[in-house]
């Protein structure tokens, strides 16, 4: 397949009781793309993923994967997709290597890839450790390795970084980048906005079953036209004087720093530099969190 669309989802809707968990979701994912579905808990991310994977039938709408319908269970598609489920689904009492070999064999893949996969996710030294003796981050990495064991073209990861400590999350990011470098298409859900911003080629922001915005994270942020915050140590420049500096829209003292809001950070920074007032400088651009706030009118809470 050329650089065409790997996934085409159109008007997906899925209802649980009175609630439309997925309420009219359409998007396409291109080959080799790292696509993030972003949103708070209960936004409908997992259900959307499950419909695309062929685990659930949409009430309305259609989806194709490599031009094929994933529902009902499509044996032709299964070898091409790798799935990491939210719960860590492992066979009991098996070591990391045994888990990988077992999952690979379900696809008729020889045991040779296990070592390679352990290497990829940085668990080579844990090959003979039982799954239940691994740390949370290691388990997540192992379960991603298991999703990749049969060398699929597309990988679905459902909140792989949830409940991990910051260090483990960063380790996992490296793993995800390494997978992308192998040319895989990745579709993943997360409720960490900062993470999506760093990792994804394109992000769909979901809330209450709907996609609110979809684009490259940087484009989404730029589209906001939100001011940049420039922070310097308080007391260097008086607040009243700061308000008159070039490019400043607003200035306030929050008790720790002097916060300057600007739409022209370049101008402001040179003005500050001229005065030698760059002590404790921090520049904070708008983030996806601001995008979410703008779109929903409420603060983002994972």
């Amino acid at each position: 397949m050329s650089k065409g669309s790997t996934i085409v989802a159109e008007g997906l809707r899925k209802r649980y009781g009175d609630l439309w968990a997925v309420d009219g979701v359409s998007f396409t994912v291109g080959e080799g793309e790292f696509f993030g579905i972003l949103g708070p808990n209960g936004a409908g991310k997992t259900t959307t993923l499950e419909i695309i994977e062929g685990l659930r039938k949409p009430d309305e709408g259609s989806v194709t994967l490599f031009g094929e319908q994933p529902w009902p269970r499509n044996a032709k598609l299964l070898p091409r997709i790798g799935v990491q489920l939210q719960a860590s689904s492992f066979f009991e009492k098996l070591t990391a290597r045994e888990q990988l070999e077992t999952f690979a064999s379900l696809y008729g893949v020889s045991r040779g890839t296990a070592a390679d996969m352990l290497e990829l996710v940085g668990l080579a030294d844990k090959a003979n450790t039982r799954e239940n003796k691994l740390s949370g981050g290691q388990r997540q990495r192992l379960s991603i390795a298991c999703a990749l064991a049969h060398d699929p073209d597309i990988v679905f990861l459902d909140e792989p970084t949830a409940a991990l400590d910051p260090q483990a999350r960063r380790n996992l990011w490296d793993v995800l980048r390494a997978i992308k470098d192998r040319g895989k298409t990745i579709v993943y859900t997360t409720h960490y906005l900062d993470e999506a911003e760093i990792l994804c080629d394109r992000t769909a922001i979901m809330d209450k079953g709907k996609i609110l915005a979809m684009d490259a994270p940087a484009t989404l942020v730029r589209g906001l036209d939100a001011p940049t915050s420039v922070l310097i140590e308080r007391g260097i420049v008086p607040v009243e004087e700061a308000k008159t500096l070039a490019g400043v829209d607003e200035a306030s003292d929050d008790g720790v720093s002097l916060r300057l809001s600007t739409r022209n950070p370049a101008k402001l920074l040179s003005a500050l530099a001229e005065r030698g007032a760059l002590e404790g400088l921090q520049v904070r651009g708008a983030t996806l969190e601001d995008v979410f706030l703008e779109l929903t009118g409420r603060e983002y809470r994972a």
Binding site: G54, L85, S89, F91, E101, T102, S105, L106, Y107
Partner: protein, 348 residues
């Protein structure tokens, strides 16, 4: 490696690395063998102890029956007191031709045995004293091999129970656990058929059953227990396989209905324990009311039990397998159909 083989290997490994499962599967039945062996096993402890005062031909004849064991006491009053307090089921005093027996009705079985034995001994001595030849002669002999002891009957029963328990628990818990941890769902996302998943678990069940049986019978055959197998004991093997098939189907049904391990354990206990008692695993079911015996006729354990006693102990041939095989297979089909109606790959 094929999916079937690797799934089987994964389950075997998971099972053999779980100490608790190993204990329940292999040691529990042996523990029961020891306990029941101690209760019913040694012939010396099955003698009834009675208190005795005095001496005479009646007592020596009584001793020869081998059914009672004497404890000599000084006075009859003291002996009667011991009966009253339940220390012994009966006391006997022999003064010349006067035989006095006191028994406790609270222990009706032993008291009955003792009464019958003493009455027959007294009659026998009376007859001998009269000098007349007996009108009726009695020739009584055990029909089984004379080496037959309680262990011969206990072993097939306890073994069948042990096999049923571990087969049902094993398959039910695997299913519940795999569904809960979404392993089933994950397998569903691989190009593996339902048949492969089910049959690999069945292979594990049959394999475990055969291992269990071999270990159990090997231990029962040691001199401590002294089990002796009948000539065509190997006929037990096909019976074991068919038996585990039916228990596997129960396990899959339980695993399909139960949503948690706790529920699966509870449901399994509710099925296995009554079934064990109704099937005559520990105690003969022949004394039960007729309707209860009819109920037991549909239980797979009853037929596995009967078949095992027939081929392992009674020395019957292949014809003894016909009924058990037919019932077990029919049972499996019915339960498997029910299981397929309830089965789901994931919690809804």
């Amino acid at each position: 490696m094929t999916a079937f083989r690797s799934l089987s290997v994964a389950m075997f490994k998971g099972f053999f690395r779980e100490r608790v499962a190993l204990f329940f599967t292999f040691l529990m039945p042996l523990m029961f063998l020891v306990i029941f062996g101690l209760i019913f096993g040694s012939s010396s402890s099955s003698k009834t102890k009675i208190d005795v005062v005095g001496d005479g031909p009646v007592l020596s004849a009584l001793q020869q029956t081998g059914i009672v064991e004497f404890q000599h006491v000084d006075s009859f009053d003291q002996a009667v007191q011991a009966v009253r307090s339940g220390d012994v089921p009966a006391a006997i005093s022999v003064q010349g031709n006067q035989v006095q027996l006191r028994y406790a009705a609270s222990d009706s079985v032993q008291a009955g045995t003792v009464q019958a034995v003493i009455r027959s001994v007294v009659d026998h001595v009376n007859l001998a004293a009269s000098g007349k030849p007996p009108t009726v002669t009695l020739d009584s002999q055990q029909v089984e091999d004379s080496s037959l002891t309680a262990i011969q009957y206990l072993t097939p029963g306890i073994l069948s129970w042990g096999l049923a328990t571990s087969a049902i628990f094993g398959s039910a818990l695997t299913l519940v656990n795999w569904r809960k941890k979404q392993v089933l769902r994950r397998i569903r996302l691989a190009p593996v058929s339902t048949g492969t998943v089910i049959s690999s678990r069945l292979l594990v069940t049959i394999g475990t059953t055969v291992l269990q049986a071999i270990l159990f019978i090997a231990v029962a055959m040691t001199p401590v227990f002294g089990l002796k197998l009948a000539g065509q004991w190997w006929l037990a093997l096909p019976l074991l396989v068919i038996g585990s098939l039916s228990f596997f189907s129960i396990g899959v049904l339980v695993g399909s209905i139960a949503k948690s391990e706790e529920a699966a354990t509870g449901i399994t206990n509710v099925i296995v324990l009554p079934m064990a008692f109704l099937s005559g695993t520990f105690f003969p079911v022949q004394n039960a009311p007729q309707w209860l015996q009819t109920v037991s006729e549909v239980l797979p354990l009853r037929h596995l039990n009967d078949g095992m006693v027939d081929v392992l102990v009674r020395g019957k041939g292949i014809e003894a397998l016909v009924t058990p095989t037919a019932v077990l297979l029919a049972f499996t089909l019915v339960v498997a159909f029910a299981a397929s109606r309830f089965f789901s790959w994931e919690d809804s």
